[in-house]
Amino acid sequence: MMHTFSRRRFLQLAGMASAASVLPQAFGAAPAARVVVVGGGFGGATVAKYLRMWGGDIEVTLVDPNLSHIACILSNLVVTGALTMDRITLGYNALNVNHGVKMRHGRVIAIDYERGTVSLDNGPREPYDHLVLSPGIDFIPPPEGPWDPNVTPHAWQAGPQTLLLKKQLASMRDRDTFVMTVPKSPYRCPPGPYERACVVADYLKRKKLIFAKVVVLDANPSIQAEPLAFTEAFNFIYKGMIEYVPNATVLAVNSQTRSIQTSAGDWSNVRVLNYIPNQRAAAVGPPDSPDRGWPVLNSQGFVPVNPLTYGVSKYPNVHVIGDACAVPASEGKAVPKSGHMANAEAKVCADAILRSLNGESPDSNITTNSACFSPITSTTASWLSANFNYGDIYDGVGKVKGKGMHRVDLGEAPRTNGDNYQDMFTWAEGLFADSFA
């Protein structure tokens, strides 16, 4: 089919385009548009892939300091030894080979939103027409320390932290206590902390450490996701082993003595202190820069975005996706922060960028979804499903407060079982491939 289109005609057209300043230089020398993506997690990888897949000659550069991404998804199973690190280690090579995404391994040190450039700790600046920021989360230190995550790991960013917690869990003996915290919402992966409590308790049971305890100090008033599955797990499956403490606001953490003070009581000299701190959007500028390098932040430290484009109000060509962004949503029906949701947002964002480059308005017939599986024991799992549709969003008393992503459906597995446990791996395989391959 293609050979009916002559090379001569092709060059004529390219020439026309050039004259019309569509292509500022001869064909092949300059791309139609440059998009720089910062952060190679699920959001960044997916937006880079889909921009190239849908956008053809768009030049896409993905910036991340690491040579591969270590997924938080399934990482609780690395903590218990059920899986090894290689299972959650996702390389960037396929994005480059299959999709032509350019990789740039460096750390962002500054962004000039006015000029449209990203400065890295190595090599030249990256100029952009559109910028997508998907840097994930930073941790808010406890009110009082001394806190050192290299002594008391959070393991809420997978990697060395995961292995440190694994090692500490393996050191537990009977009658020891594993104390963990659930951060104040919003935080990364709402079911994650409860899932961790379950798989840690399961590990201890299987090791016959039947007098060991898991204490879950929740900064929130109740279980934040899959309440059916986790309430059943805490009250029945792990009865007497998991102690769930709601409304536990952290006041002080001492990593050296593995002690924690909360509004619901103090725990001192525990065997493992898995303090998962409260979270905010990861910094994209030097620590001393205003708002940690962001053009705008909400009171919780996340970046408010347009729900159709993920653009920020001051700079519509700057987009924020994944855990760092705050999507307008109905009261009490927040869009969860998760790898699956970051992938969902990335596709909406990629489409909006391509439409914008084409002079079109964004598609408003959009949904995003979250679907995930949580292990409850070493052989069973539950699942969670949520869908968000673009349209009116509501305040606490049901009054329309604007436009955003309204949660139209939410539910969890009617029961936890072994089929769900197997499905969990199918789900992860699919999500890993759709994002990184």
Partner: protein
């Protein structure tokens, strides 16, 4: 030379040149973003890896399956997911996937 052996890199600039203004390419097909939300679990363009591949099913089959899942009591996760879409969105998704799965021009 078949279409498959031609890199999209060479195809797109033609579209670009033809476009009147800023020009990336033609408007994306209807349902593209909606249907892309299936890919997290069913693979890019519905081609796997993941749960039951959508590739190879006709639009009417896909639409029928999704509407059935939407209306029956919740057992599996898809019974929930299907509830997250209007019937009109389900039709758009089915039409898009039937037309676009089974191929991946980018590879």
């Amino acid at each position: 030379m078949s279409l498959k052996t031609i890199s999209p890199r060479f195809l797109i600039p033609v579209g670009l040149a033809l476009a009147a203004s800023q020009g990336a390419q033609a408007a994306p097909p209807a349902g593209q973003v909606l249907a892309s939300q299936c890919a997290q679990c069913h693979g890019t363009n519905g081609n796997g890896p993941g749960f039951d591949e959508v590739a190879g099913k006709s639009a009417s089959e896909l639409q029928k399956d999704l509407l059935e899942m939407k209306r029956r009591p919740v057992e599996g996760i898809m019974d929930r997911q299907a509830r997250g879409y209007t019937d009109a969105q389900i039709k758009l998704i089915a039409d898009y996937l039937a037309a676009h799965s089974g191929s991946n021009l980018d590879k």
